[in-house]
Symmetry: C2
Subunit: 305 residues, 2 copies
């Protein structure tokens, strides 16, 4: 799990147009998707390799935006048809949302084939997707050092067998609190996380939104609060930014293991805290690595007593 000079991060997931309504404003067809957010978040630590699918309607300007952030987009395939579109509305408290529209479009036929130079990637993030497809991506990576996957309630309920087959192949599984309850049948969050850990992954990261995250591994249970912020403009992509920050950090840092995963989670927490502060990628685009490091220092101080 240490990072070397030739370490490289592969990210596989969705690239989408998001239309978002919040109590404070709205945005139409903003660049989004799990692979987009996690790649952007990871790019602060090193250049990630993105695998995704887009339609003929995907503008060059978005392609450039990704490339200019250092994201390798040779794995971003264009197919005839339209790009994945999602529309959602956040409730007053900003913690819950309703999905108003989903048009999978070209994402419905997503069958990721890694470009040859991607197959040597050492770190892999399988963003939320069909577990069978996540496994198929993994089959194409020669010698992964660290693989982390995200999942969701839909797969826990409808693709449970494939998901359970995938878990022992993972280093880390990322899921939120309600998904952990659903997967484990346990009400208590600590029991739920430990039960998921026994299903095969080397570590489990349980996301609790505004309440932070928990880490379960052979080293025990750790908790990490979210970075407290007054400015919550748009929570879309925060979970994927968290994941991208974690993997970006892990693939760029060669320090010894004790505490490294927690440090990665702290970086993920901070990158996610910027994502919140404006619509879509707008805040993340304006963020610098030194801004991230400064907020990380503030966060570390906040947790010392």
């Amino acid at each position: 799990m240490t990072a070397g000079l030739t370490d490289s991060l592969l990210i596989v997931g969705s690239v989408a147009f998001d239309s978002i309504e919040t109590p404070n404003g709205s945005v139409d067809n903003a660049l989004g998707g799990s692979a987009t957010y996690s790649s952007f978040a990871a790019s602060f630590f090193g250049p990630p390799r993105l695998v995704g699918v887009i339609g003929a309607d995907f503008p060059d300007e978005h392609r450039r935006l990704l490339a200019d952030s250092g994201v390798d987009i040779k794995g971003l395939v264009t197919k005839p048809g339209q790009t994945f579109r999602w529309k959602g509305r956040y409730h007053q408290d900003m913690n819950t949302r309703d999905t108003l529209e989903v048009h999978l479009n070209v994402f419905a036929e997503f069958d990721p084939v890694l470009p040859p130079h991607y197959r040597d990637s050492t770190h892999v993030f399988l963003a939320n997707g069909v577990p069978g497809l996540q496994a198929k991506v993994l089959d194409q990576v020669r010698h992964p050092k660290l693989v982390m996957a995200d999942t969701m309630d839909l797969w826990i309920e409808n693709q449970r067998k494939d998901l359970l087959a995938l878990l022992p192949r993972l280093d880390g599984l990322l899921l939120n609190d309600s998904e952990a309850h659903l997967l484990s049948g346990e009400d208590n969050l600590v029991r739920a996380g430990l039960a998921v850990l026994r299903m095969g992954p080397k570590f489990v990261i349980l996301k609790k939104g505004e309440h932070g995250a928990m880490l379960f591994s052979g080293d025990g249970v750790y908790v990490m609060p979210a970075f407290p912020t007054e400015t919550v403009v748009d929570p879309t992509g925060a979970g994927d930014s968290f994941a991208g920050g974690i993997l970006g950090y892990l693939s760029s840092d060669g320090s010894p293991p004790p505490g490294r995963l927690r440090r990665a989670m702290a970086y993920g927490t901070i990158v996610a805290s910027f994502t919140f502060e404006d619509f879509g990628l707008d805040r993340l685009r304006r963020t610098t690595r030194s801004e991230i490091d400064a907020r990380l220092d503030k966060y570390r101080h906040m947790l010392s007593f």
Copy 2:
């Protein structure tokens, strides 16, 4: 806010018999109440002075239990009639509960008069109660160095004027997330905490149950997760144990301010984590200061990265 050799902690609140049902078991007429839990929690750091009222049915064995823990019970007044009784049932997730029965009994006429030697107390915890009564207690303390009060939705809704008059007299206000929303009208927790801070107290501690707590003060915003535990037998009294741990620590520690309030909250968090682990006071009764310190070290390690 520093503690001296003659510092002493006054705790005013309820002493009750609790009947508790949880998914894992139940208990009838266990010794409880806000003043009981917070006094027990504080007693690990020094002998607190308790003010409360009980009925003729209060057994000597409970009085001894308190006194044996170092609690000064000269302010525990016996009145004709029955002791305050509460009955509640926890839901499956242990985070929410229904109140099934409340019999205020002698607590309905609670009109605390401090024994003379209590009036020089330097630290004061006004457990949840009618704000007008909390103010009346405060009037009787000569030169308090640090006063913290708890409150609840009932007073925010029905005794708002008295509560707002009390706030500028407080050093700290303790309230939970839904109460902070109710008092401030703000949805975002950080904004809610800051809005309550502007109402007059020097600091605000916002309790989030299993998700920990936040601190708002002139030094900014701090977050602190709960100590993660698999063993949640009975959450009753956890909030009051948290408060008692905070005040107990503050009245016993003379170290300089930066970080002292956070350290106090960490101690409160740890004492509360023991309260959870058995019914009523059962786990707290078996807890030692060295157990608390060992868990605090574990918690500190958990939060470093």
